[in-house]
Symmetry: C2
Subunit: 128 residues, 2 copies
DNA sequence: TTGCTCCTCACGTCACGTGAGGTGGC
DNA sequence: TTGCTCCTCACGTCACGTGAGGTGGC
């Protein structure tokens, strides 16, 4: 398999826009398992692909535990049926949570706006 | 001063809707300093008032460091001028940050919506 | 011998939650 | 003596950042 590009940790990290520490962290947590040459990690295209999925999940706000659950199911369920159902459930939970967060942020912004106006009024009041 | 209600940690915590641990935590971080009777903490009305300010700041998303900065300035600047200026600056920073967070949440919700639709389409495709 | 990259601990971050183990006064 | 409340450590949480100290091969 001379065509498969095996890469070092620094190359992969740069390509993915993360630090080597991040790759080691996901490995410690069982999300990826690159090969070793001696003690040095060597990443295959498959490893990099998995990392892209992982980072996508992270960007969408899933925890490492949830992402690992998806990947484990993906490995165990090639038909993707169970995986899709879990995915839809988790995604809807996440959307619920985000919708609430959004409402909370809107309320907070209004309160902060209030505070600015009050503070500026007070500053004007003290002006000579 | 027989009229000042001095309260124990459990009472104050319950009244404020927090745990005793939270009160001890803020004390360790220099935000409040209740009296002691032996080793037991005793809270005055002033302590409780400060805690209400602190919790308001927390709810608005300020860090403990920022809240302490406000309070220190409040104690050092009875005219409130410098304090108001700092407050307005920090509040506007916070609003900026929240506005960005809100936009990010909206994008994420759309992406998640996409994912649900794709997953459901895939589930229908496998149906017998 | 000097750099360079890689490695493995392991502490720090943020705001507390959660025991563990101990004490004073009704 | 038995409860109850209070106390002081100190580890755990989440996803890494950031040294510290060491190693292999050009």
């Amino acid at each position: 398999v001379p065509d498969t590009p095996h890469q070092g940790i620094q190359e992969v990290a740069t390509a993915l826009g993360v630090t080597p520490r991040t790759l080691r962290f996901y490995e410690d947590n069982g999300l990826i398992s690159p090969q070793r040459v001696g003690s040095t990690r060597v990443y295959s295209r498959r490893d990099v692909g998995r990392m892209q999925l992982i980072l996508r999940g992270k960007k969408l706000g899933f925890t490492i535990r949830e992402i690992r659950e998806f990947l484990d199911l993906y490995d165990a369920d090639p038909g993707h049926r169970e995986q899709m159902e879990l995915l839809v459930a988790r995604v809807q939970e996440r959307m619920d949570s985000l919708t609430k967060q959004k409402a909370a942020i809107e309320e907070t912004i209004e309160e902060l706006d209030q505070i600015v106006h009050e503070a500026q009024a007070r500053l004007r009041a003290v002006e000579d």
